[in-house]
């Protein structure tokens, strides 16, 4: 397969940025990840995520409905792990509780919506964000809009096959993997944050 020259990097890219998949970016296999559209070993992506989270001025986590709602024990466990990771990284949390369009508009201080995620990014001056627990289609939609209209660095921790439209994506991420990432972040920061 030809290697795509397209790079998934912070924008603002364009009013209608292309889907990374349409530009030749392919999803990683098990044990792999994507950094800016390039397939890399998972460990390399974990290091990069850690670096991005630690160096970010204003990092935010955007948990989606798959973990915000207590569907089952797995969802509850992943939610707990994500909250611990956000705390370890010193990041704030803004939820994406569902995908309904809101009239007249969302409150960007307390909510992010996949149909206009740029509003939340702009309003809160977010430079790095982490998507986790958002259904595939809506995550890619939001990631694409963010890339199109903001300079925010996007990371997606995906429970399935990953997201081409994120600048860094890990695949097959469940509560155990989130906990491992938390440990890496804590170690990189030099101990457990107070």
């Amino acid at each position: 397969m030809a290697i795509s020259s397209y790079r998934v990097i912070p924008g603002p890219e364009s009013y209608l940025s292309p889907a990374a998949a349409s530009m030749g970016v392919v999803l990683p296999e098990k044990g792999e990840a994507l950094i800016e559209g390039k397939i890399v070993p998972e460990e390399e992506a974990i290091e990069k995520i850690t670096e991005k989270l630690i160096l970010a001025k204003n990092p935010f986590f955007f948990p989606g409905p798959l973990i915000l709602w207590a569907w089952n024990e797995k969802a509850i466990a992943k939610a707990k792990a994500v909250k611990e990771l956000a705390e370890a990284a010193g990041a704030k949390i803004i939820p994406m509780p569902d995908y309904r369009p809101k009239y007249p508009m969302i409150n960007p201080e307390e909510e992010i919506n996949p149909n206009h995620p740029n509003l939340t990014i702009w309003h809160n001056k977010i430079d790095t964000c982490v998507f986790v627990g958002v259904h595939c289609h809506y995550a890619n939609l939001a990631l694409k809009i963010i890339r199109g209209g903001t300079d925010c660095y996007t990371i997606a921790l995906c429970g399935q096959a990953g997201h081409e439209d994120a600048m860094i994506t890990l695949r097959d991420i469940h509560s155990e993997e989130v906990q491992k990432l938390t440990e890496v972040v804590k170690r990189a920061k030099g101990g457990t944050p107070q």
Partner: protein, 277 residues
């Protein structure tokens, strides 16, 4: 979705927007509420983008408040004014291709019966007069003829309203609209009669001005569809934008033109009596 599943994951309660906390703590899920309880619980619609004085928006609000089990209801809609509001409801809803709503709903209902054999999952088709009586007439009729367990609710504003005001099959004879300047040349389609003749076990007509009755009819239509077969409810929802009357006159117009009709098959009558609704 039962009420105990509509629960926020521990640790995230404080960061959820107030609207969601209200839905969880004070919403209608699993509580058997109705129109008489409006004002005492968190409704399934927060705000809407439809025109001032829109009868259709009020009908959706009243219908949503009357659903016997909103947590186990899926609404299937189609193109029209209603489709601008529908995605904002805190109820599962699907937007179909224009006119295809009944076919989609029938497949969905059959799949839900297989997936959840021990649960009632109510599938409600809610669409405009153009979607049901014109463009989607064939799928609508065929779901009735096949005796699918669906409730069909027509929001009848007697025109294609969000495309500038064309006449629909449900417009009255002589109706003049922006895009029907010489007046409609044939009568309103007799959908209640067609529904009855096509096998609906419960058929009713009401207007948006008659809230309590509308609420009761919604509950009856859904219960009968759940247990017996197809049902049809036609709600008259005057449109001030295209029929060019004051936004404050919507309910007055609805009352003036309201035709209340209720056909209940003998089997449905027994069920309704037992359920006491």
């Amino acid at each position: 979705m039962k009420k105990n599943i509509a629960t926020i994951s521990p640790g995230f309660e404080d960061i959820m927007p107030e609207e969601y906390q209200d839905l969880v703590n004070d919403g209608p899920y699993g509580r058997g509420l109705g129109i008489k309880n409006l004002g005492t619980f968190k409704e399934l619609i927060e705000e809407h983008p439809l025109c001032a004085g829109c009868g259709l928006a009020l009908a959706i609000r009243l219908t949503a408040a009357s659903l016997p089990a909103p947590e186990d209801t899926i609404i299937v809609g189609t193109t029209g004014c209603n489709s601008i509001l529908m995605p904002q409801l805190a109820i599962h809803n699907i937007h179909s291709l224009f006119g295809n709503q009944s076919s989609l709903a029938a497949g969905l209902k059959r799949a839900l019966k297989l997936r959840y054999p021990d649960k009632n999952k109510d599938v409600v088709v809610m669409a405009g007069d153009g979607g049901i009586a014109d463009i989607g007439l064939s799928p609508t009729l065929h779901t009735w003829l096949r005796r699918e367990n669906l409730t069909t609710i027509m929001l009848d504003n007697e025109s294609y309203s969000n495309t500038g005001g064309q006449e629909s099959g449900m417009s009255c004879e002589g109706a003049v609209l922006n895009m029907a300047p010489t007046g409609k040349k044939f009568p309103k389609i007799p959908m209640p009669e067609i529904a009855k003749d096509s096998g609906c076990a419960y058929v009713a007509t009401v207007s948006v001005a008659n809230a309590r009755r509308l609420g009761r009819m919604v509950k009856r239509a859904i219960l009968v569809a759940r247990e017996i077969g197809p049902t049809y409810l036609q709600i008259f929802v005057p449109c001030p934008t295209n029929y060019k009357f004051s936004t404050s006159e919507t309910l007055k117009r609805a009352k003036e033109r309201e035709k209340i009709m209720e056909y209940i098959s003998s089997e449905a009558e027994k069920l309704i009596k037992e359920a006491n609704i």
